[in-house]
Symmetry: C2
Subunit: 203 residues, 2 copies
């Protein structure tokens, strides 16, 4: 593999409450692998960023017309991609604990596996990520010890790291999810995965 290809990578900024992040999470690794690009899964919290925009809820709830479109759109995109989907009864879900666990998982090399499992729980399996038992079950299903992982996830260093990552996303100009970054270059939305991959490959 040429050195440039080995060096190329994108950062995938995601929020577990974000429906379009789910769609992107379902396809990003395969698409990136086909392009010879590495993916860094970077959980962050959209809540604080939305709050600075004056939003205390998902923009898809604040604007029900846009919300109606989003659910129809996510449904048909999932159908087209062969990705399982069931509209969650609760939206958005409380994703703080899941994002902390994803931070731990990222450190330990099981970030994408946990990420995808958590997204599926939210957007395909009718679970509520806001419930501790849901997150614990996801950890156990991946062959990890929920008690130990949750203890690490709620340690001060992981809490601080997730806050720092959210601040880093904001500093990069992230205002929604999913966002892909290649250096300082941002690509917002799952429709732009290929543009981000092209950028990472220097195309």
């Amino acid at each position: 593999m040429p050195a440039t290809a080995a060096a190329s990578s994108i950062d995938f900024w995601f929020e577990f409450a974000s429906s379009y992040s789910y769609v992107a999470a379902s396809v990003i690794d395969a698409r990136a692998a086909a392009a010879g690009v590495a993916v860094r899964w970077r959980p962050f919290l959209l809540g604080p960023i939305f709050a600075r925009q004056g939003w205390r809820d998902s923009p898809f709830n604040i604007n029900p017309v846009k919300g109606r479109y989003m659910w129809r759109d996510v449904e048909r995109r999932c159908a087209a991609l062969g990705v399982p989907f069931a509209r969650p009864t609760r939206f958005p879900q409380h994703t703080l604990l899941a994002a902390r666990v994803a931070t731990v998982a990222g450190d330990e090399g099981w970030g994408p596996a946990f990420g995808l499992a958590a997204f599926r729980a939210n957007f395909a399996e009718g679970c509520d990520l806001g419930e501790r038992a849901t997150v614990a079950a996801l950890i156990a299903a991946l062959g990890r010890d929920p008690h130990a992982v949750l203890a690490r996830a709620e340690g001060e260093d992981v809490k601080a790291r997730l806050r720092d990552e959210t601040a880093r996303a904001e500093a990069l100009g992230v205002f929604g999810a999913p966002t892909f970054t290649v250096g300082d270059e941002l690509f917002w939305g799952g429709d732009r995965i290929d543009d981000a991959l092209d950028r990472a490959r220097g195309l």
Copy 2:
């Protein structure tokens, strides 16, 4: 041409103040022609729809972080597509008169030509569509009589038609531009042109 191809068409809902509508307007006819799909250019006004969402300005001005992304994104998309682009000094521009002229032009078979010219004036040529002289010059450059066209554009029937079209867009669930519709099915954003064309072709 098979009957199904002849019957397939999409509606292209656009607003002259919308930067992403400009990008879409620059590519839609060629892309649709390649797909064997007819395009109906449908000018409407985003202002009244945004006002109902509580916005009195472009969301890209209300949220400067999102705005900064948008300008960078439009610039690089135009570069990739070979579409001329120069960031307008005034954004958004007052597009009521241009939209009324586009309504007349649509009736008379020169809708896309005027539409593209007006978009270019705004987003590539440093003109202000809010100035009557700009709109008149665009009409003249297309070999039409500005005085006669502007008189028709400001007739009560055309004013009412544009209001009706805006109401129709809103009834369809349009909340931004560009939006493509195929029957009741909406596709929001220029990234979704191919999805809309596929839908029109029954794919």
